[in-house]
Assembly symmetry: C2
Homo-oligomer: 327 residues x 2
Amino acid sequence: MPESSITVPEPTTAAPMDRAATRATDSPRPTTIVEAPRLAAHLGIEVFLATETFQRTGSFKFRAAFNLVANIPHPHVITASSGNFGQAMAYACKLFGKRCTIVMPANSARVKVDAVLSYGGRVDLVDTTKVKRSARVAQLAAEHPEAYIASAYDDPYVIAGNATLGDELAALETPPDAVVVPVGGGGLSSGLVQAAQRATRRMSVIGAEPLMANDAARSLRAGHIVVNEVEPQTIADGTRTLSVGQHNWAILRDGIETIVEVPEDAIREGVRLLFSLANLKAEPTGALGVGALLTAPDLFADRRVCCVVTGGNVDPAVYTALVAPGS
Amino acid sequence: MPESSITVPEPTTAAPMDRAATRATDSPRPTTIVEAPRLAAHLGIEVFLATETFQRTGSFKFRAAFNLVANIPHPHVITASSGNFGQAMAYACKLFGKRCTIVMPANSARVKVDAVLSYGGRVDLVDTTKVKRSARVAQLAAEHPEAYIASAYDDPYVIAGNATLGDELAALETPPDAVVVPVGGGGLSSGLVQAAQRATRRMSVIGAEPLMANDAARSLRAGHIVVNEVEPQTIADGTRTLSVGQHNWAILRDGIETIVEVPEDAIREGVRLLFSLANLKAEPTGALGVGALLTAPDLFADRRVCCVVTGGNVDPAVYTALVAPGS
């Protein structure tokens, strides 16, 4: 796979949560802990689940969006997202009475456009065969100098918002020894590392990245950020990023224990196992952690493992094709 | 539909929970509260979910089985169940070191037999074209005088175990005004009524019963237990009972506010809505409550409603056929 390297700036101190804002009644919900003894027995690993599928807007992204919107003075947020971050940002902006523009490809699934609209976001459709999404965002930024341009991962507010999930896991009566978490741009994994570093008890963070989108694993090996030249078409569409972000890399490079590279078949099997052995509806990206347990079981021996299920928003056609018998 | 009436005995005082036993590490898990704002907006009802899909063995039945096994001196439990009660009883008996025999039809789905076996139960397969399940249970009871013959609903221990769910709902920071709950044999609904009657704040219990298996609704209208002559083949297979039990009826007849009769299409739509708007995998029986909200929305106006999702154990083929686009 073609790759290139970029210069990495000095680490940035992550922004703290705004405590006043997070007392709002619509602040992020605590994660949902699901004991899954049949899944654990099947895998032969002492694992439980922390699922964000019941988080507001159906994924952990609301933690990031809420913290960002709570902490910026800007009246308007612009971001490019066809997935969970767009929905989360639209809803967070609605809660704080701010405007929100989500740039999406013109060929986005109707259900995704509708979800953003249902949370009160404005959708800006762009024909990506003619104009790059980043170019359209730049154009909108020039037209709206009052707006904050939000990255779904490469932003201290995003990382700090996601870190609240790690704080919750560290505060459990019996905290996990290791947390397994999907890696795309690195927004959640870097947040969990941040939380682990301030926890009173050791808690390792292990990444789960699609093998066919393994830029973060390659970055760890190379010692610098490695960039995909094209967006990898993994079924775990929440990880279709060109590379981890710079703020994320600054935290991950020394903070993450390792990254398991998960074949597509193991991601699919993860979705099926969560359905059949844990009664949990997960999107493919959310099943990456279980996929990592299937791929590298020895890594998790003799540890109490928490597998983060990041979200549950999945097209019914995609989901039923994955879960149907004989698939 | 043919019906007959039977004599109803005096109400029985339900057995209290054994507090020592319920401190066991494997006691029932608290229910999982899921806020579902998109579902609430779609229905136009202020509703949230209490889901038992993540309860041990995947349904509320474990509450009943655990309480029963904890309170009886018998070393062996025999019950007829091809569904959730069988799995729950097998697991509860395993926890308490008791023997368990589950009588199931010989044509039961392999996945259901395997589930009971995986929890350590002994499966007794009976050819129901030749021998009635109740006859086989009676035969086993004669062979094993040391065994307790357990009903899945018509038993004070079962009712008291299920009542713990109602206690949890009554203890919420903002308790519901009304709880909507599937009605089959009446084990859960009578337990919820029992909890509501000892709650400090008014909490109505409303039943949700398949229209094609509406013996409980007809019983309420008739003022006595009405019995189906054949097991109704509703998709909500957890409610395929001939009638409510006598202990249940004694509690329900004056304690339940009303029972909504839910058409099969509304049950199916309930499964789909829980999937698409709440990220929740529910079995058809578990979607009866949402089906009731769809069927009689006016009943729930201006009330804070809790919809109990009773279980999530569903065959993948059945589930994907329900959820697939265009179904």
